[in-house]
Point group: C2
Chain length 711, copies 2
């Protein structure tokens, strides 16, 4: 890729970003779009405060949202959203620091050295048509002593990144503990999930749980809720909800024309309202029958609540029964976070399904290479001309060829990639996780490795799929192969950052898809439907994307520092836009207290080691074997550092220590509201579909017909 | 190696074994050897029951000891020794079962098939000079369908071994729990070790421990004992002990000739008794001063005792402080098992020393190849003749050449190997283990991998040391390389089993070294010294040896089933002899409750997978790629099985579950002796060298001058 192609791509994408920003700042001011751009405010019933009258200002693009997104401090953000959101924003802050430092070294030290090399002899008189490769390490002469600067840069950069990683891990740990201290008593702090309940003849699971915990935890055991098989009931209640909604819509429409429909092909006309009313009652009866019959459909799993946090934690950590595959304890998620139809199967089934999921993820990752290879072909103009000879004349136009090489490949990749997150969610839920947060976390890791393999390695190795797998069996070949392939793809990834990174983050601000949906809805139903849910951010889609740019930045820091300024722009955009979205759009669905952070840490360590391996290969190729040899300790030291961090910080992300738990328990002693809390606790983990049907037919129709008694 | 050489070797070793047995059965009957052959009985003061008078029967070899070793049931063995000894004997029972089954298939099915093949064309008319290779799989024709019998045998054998592994793991787990139920209250069940105690300014470690546990475990915390730096004191007390012993010996000798010695070169003569008496008093004073000054030399580690087993276990499993590198808990070993001068350094130091030990073990394992390669040279007659041309005439004698090829190599290996266990013990103790049992367990694993690498792989790969390490980086080459090398070494390993296995186990019975020591002592001191210790079995030496034969048997089952009968003989001998030794010679030093078993399990799984990998390579070499392909699932299934076993049984070997602990605690409630036990508990974990010097100058001189007040 030549410089002018890159500039074209940058131009197009800058234009797109500006377009999105302008449209956003205009559309956001239209009250009609409030549900798209400020659903949190709508949900909090603040939309009425906005003036409904037409105002000329509303058509002018302004940058006020930038200030509003920038201004709130981290504590304010925490109070408005939750710790997960704050930790998510820390990814951008961390990346900004890393790439800020990397840019200084990369652009002012490494880039000039690369550019002044003479290895790539093809010399263009024109600066604009200079190949981007002349900015990469490939341009440094073989055996040149300048490469020792790169060597030093690798050591210094690793040291700085490790320091930043440590500081960030430590900061988030302390945030996590502070957040725990400041939290009110919450059901999940007092509860554990017990699976694999054994049952003696003549008693059921519930009795078994009661007997066990009364015997061994007599002083602290409070109550338990059995988990039941509710798949059928879940389908029924969602039917009820659908019918209820239709009924509500029909009632609000008051449209007599549509009120009658034919019963069957040649039946008589019936009142639709009556019809749906009857149907709803029938369904509700079925639900009640099903609910009462479900009492017996217990599965060997239960949520067990204790009187104190400490006793719940103690029951969580210690092996309960003599058979370690029975009475398996797990910390309970928040009640609203429980994935009710979770896999409540036996120990061995869950274990095997985990294995199956691992195999499935590996298979998906490998099979996905096929479209990627196709995309690779598209990025290559000559290939395209061979395939579609009739396009030759169009492809020969400079603009078209630049668009194709600079923009199309990553766009198609994006399209394919958008199918993957839902698949990963399904696979994660098959693993037997009990909460949405765990499922999302599992999907997040899977997505990250998927992205790294399918975008990074597939592009770098760019051979047949089979060949790329077989490389795993020849570990000594890897550094050389990567050192050969990675710098060659530098220009592709620079354009990837610009196209995929910048565009995706600004379209996140613009919320294209929800906007279109909202417009269609309005056109279709005549007026804006009153039912709407505040969306929650899909961490499993966003985090891997952000982290992948981190992988790119750290890996290419040494080889093609030209990528760094573009990444810095991406991080700035991301910081502002996601802050804005978290403040205005997304409501937290659950709170894990920043449990996503270890994924970020691991990904950064992985990038560093990858960078070191490539550096070893590069110094080898560039004929300074001494530097290659001296780089070998670097990945080892980095892995040691990682191991230390895991020991030092990871336990805090798994559970809270005695010190914290005991302190919080002591606070509760003097709290008069604890009795009320204990009452709530005993029913907190009832499956919502098992709650008695209780309609709150409020006029605004906001609430759904089935609501748990105490939420 | 030809058949007659093997037979010579078998003959020599059978002769040696018989000689050892005969000598043993005669020497054992001499009361003078009681301390060598029945120290347990001596310690129990039963030796007086034996008739002291001369009896002609005492010179006749008898096999009564075989009956006496065979007869006791497992429960009787458990009551006389401990669970570790019983579990150790289970290794032989397990091996007998595995090799019994393997022998049936190997000798009656695989051996005839191998022998009837025609691949090795060199045909000897004489059966005795037939190469042993004609009994191995190498003799089966390439592409022969008979190889499918081997394929089926691999699957069936793996299935049977896995079943036996499961049954054995399950049996030992239940034994372990039953043993816990039947145990009396013991200090280590109520105690945990806490390391990394943080200290606030103005208080010491002891106060910090007291404050922490009084605050967070107010209802169950009992007491704590700080660990102190006692290296200097330990040296002093051992000096006191030496002087005391000399004094006791001098007193008992009453030999006036030796009572005076010169003080300096030209000094006056002094009474030796007075001299040593004065020296002893001086030393004891120094010890007392040192003891009192040590109160301040606390290290950040303490044994913390609780009122119940359950509360100790709970404190053990849960993270204590917000910083996971502080307040690290570990289960306490038995008081007599504590390795007092243990590494009481900081979290990070211990972690780094563990890493250093790993590197040191790897280095030792690799450097050890040098003598092994030398031994390889010795095993080769031609090489020997080249090196020492003057020996040619001797080496050409049939007997000499057969002795050299059949016996010498493994004898030299044995010699070198005997230096390794002490080194491994030192390395394990550097890892920061707190008890002898843990150190021995660590050394046991290290020894096992050391043995497997240096005896098995070094012989099989038999190239340069460097080449053998580099193979690790080419995983796809491994099966073929092993399939090439392993069958070729079959005859070496058969002779290894006969020479090293049979001889080592019968010399274990004969106790050559202790016998010689005892004779020398008697000759030197005129009469048998009264001070003696009942020896304890060195599991870290014995278990890896036994397990290595297991590795050989399982690996060679498919390729050279001729090895199996020899292994069966080894196991039978081992079973009888070690049972005899455990009953008569070795006293248990500590009780881990069978924690060694997982090493046995892992080693067996490793052997199975190794066997599968070699089988894959072999089927490839033998030109039936379909069988090679169909064997690939076998190691994967085996590893899955192993993973399941780890989940199912391993937790029981780490700690006891709530169910067991709560039941035992309940029993104690009604036990009136618990108050006395609690009193004992609070001082159980005092460092013995810190106990006040208290002499029990009994006339028999058995006791040492320094004894803890309550042991």
């Amino acid at each position: 890729m030549i410089l002018s192609a890159l500039l074209t791509s940058v131009g197009i994408n800058l234009g797109l970003c500006l377009l999105f920003f302008t449209l956003y700042s205009i559309l956001k001011k239209q009250p009609i779009n409030a549900k798209v751009y400020a659903p949190r405010a709508v949900a909090a019933k603040e939309e009425s405060q906005q003036s409904e009258g037409f105002n000329f200002d509303r058509l002018l693009p302004t940058a006020g949202w930038v200030r509003r997104a920038w201004q709130p401090s981290e504590d304010e953000l925490l109070s408005v959203t939750n710790l997960d959101a704050v930790v998510f924003m820390r990814i951008f802050i961390f990346s900004l620091r890393v790439f800020g430092f990397a840019s200084i070294i990369g652009v002012f030290v490494l880039l000039p050295i690369n550019f002044l090399g003479n290895q790539l002899t093809v010399d263009f008189s024109d600066f604009a048509s200079k190949s981007l490769d002349s900015f990469s390490i490939s341009n440094v002469d073989d055996g040149s002593n300048w490469l020792w600067v790169h060597f030093c840069a690798a050591y210094i950069f690793t040291g700085v990144v490790c320091y930043l990683l440590y500081a960030e891990f430590s900061y988030i740990s302390s945030k996590r503990i502070a957040h725990f201290y400041s939290s009110k008593p919450q059901p999940h702090q007092f509860t554990i999930l017990v699976r694999g309940i054994p049952v003696s003849s003549g008693s059921n699971y519930s009795e078994s749980v009661d007997k066990f915990f009364t015997e061994y935890y007599s002083s602290t055991y409070l109550s338990h809720s059995m988990v039941r098989r509710t798949g059928k009931l879940q389908r029924l209640t969602s039917d009820v909800e659908k019918v209820y909604r239709t009924l509500a819509r029909l009632k609000s429409e008051n449209n007599t024309q549509q009120r009658f429909k034919r019963d069957g092909i040649c039946g008589r006309k019936v009142d639709v309202l009556d019809y749906y009313g009857k149907k709803l009652e029938d369904l509700e009866d079925t639900v009640r029958v099903e609910q009462s019959s479900l009492a017996g459909k217990e599965v060997p799993a239960a949520f067990v609540s204790f009187k104190t946090r400490l006793s719940a934690a103690m029951a969580l950590h210690i092996q309960q029964g003599t058979n370690p595959t029975e009475w398996i304890t797990e910390s309970a998620p928040e009640p609203q976070d429980v994935h009710w139809p979770f896999f409540s199967s036996s120990f061995i089934k869950r274990w095997l399904s985990k294995l199956v999921v691992v195999v499935a993820v590996a298979a998906l990752t490998i099979l996905f290479l096929i479209p990627v290879v196709f995309v690779q072909g598209l990025a290559n103009l000559d290939q395209l001309e061979t395939w579609f000879p009739f396009l030759t004349s169009i492809l020969n136009l400079t603009v078209v060829s630049e668009v194709i090489t600079g923009y199309l490949p990553s766009l198609i990749l994006q399209l394919f990639l958008s199918f993957v997150p839902p698949i990963m969610i399904v696979l994660s839920s098959m693993e037997g996780y009990i909460s949405f947060s765990q499922i999302e976390k599992g999907a997040c890791s899977k997505m990250l490795w998927f992205t790294v393999w399918n975008i990074f390695f597939a592009n770098v190795l760019s051979g047949t799929a089979l060949y790329q797998v077989s490389i795993l069996f020849e570990p000594t070949e890897i550094p050389g192969l990567l050192a050969d392939g990675v710098p060659a793809q530098a220009s592709f990834f620079i354009s990837y950052v610009v196209t995929s990174g910048w565009t995706s983050v600004s379209s996140e601000l613009f919320r294209m898809v929800p906007l279109i949906f909202s417009i269609i809805k309005r056109l279709f139903s005549g007026k804006d439907s009153d039912e709407f849910e505040v969306p929650s951010i899909s961490y499993h889609k966003v985090i891997p994307k952000v982290l992948f740019f981190g992988v790119l930045g750290i890996t290419y820091f040494l080889m093609a520092p030209l990528i760094l300024p573009f990444l810095l722009v991406y991080c700035c955009l991301g910081y502002l836009i996601y802050r804005n979205q978290l403040l205005n759009v997304y409501a937290p669905k659950y709170e894990t207290g920043g449990r996503f952070w270890p994924i970020v840490h691991n990904s950064t360590i992985f990038s560093l080691v990858l960078m070191h391996i490539i550096a070893i290969g590069l110094f080898g190729l560039k004929e300074i074997p001494l530097a290659a040899g001296l780089t070998i300790p670097l990945p080892l030291l980095t892995l040691l550092f990682n191991e230390y961090c895991r020991k030092r910080f990871l336990p805090i992300f798994k559970s809270f220590p005695v010190e914290c738990l005991a302190k919080k328990d002591k606070e509760d002693h003097s709290d008069p509201s604890m009795d009320a809390f204990y009452d709530k606790l005993s029913t907190a983990y009832e499956d919502p579909v098992l709650m008695p049907i209780r309609r709150r037919r409020s006029t605004d129709g906001h609430s759904s017909p089935l609501l748990p008694a105490d939420v």
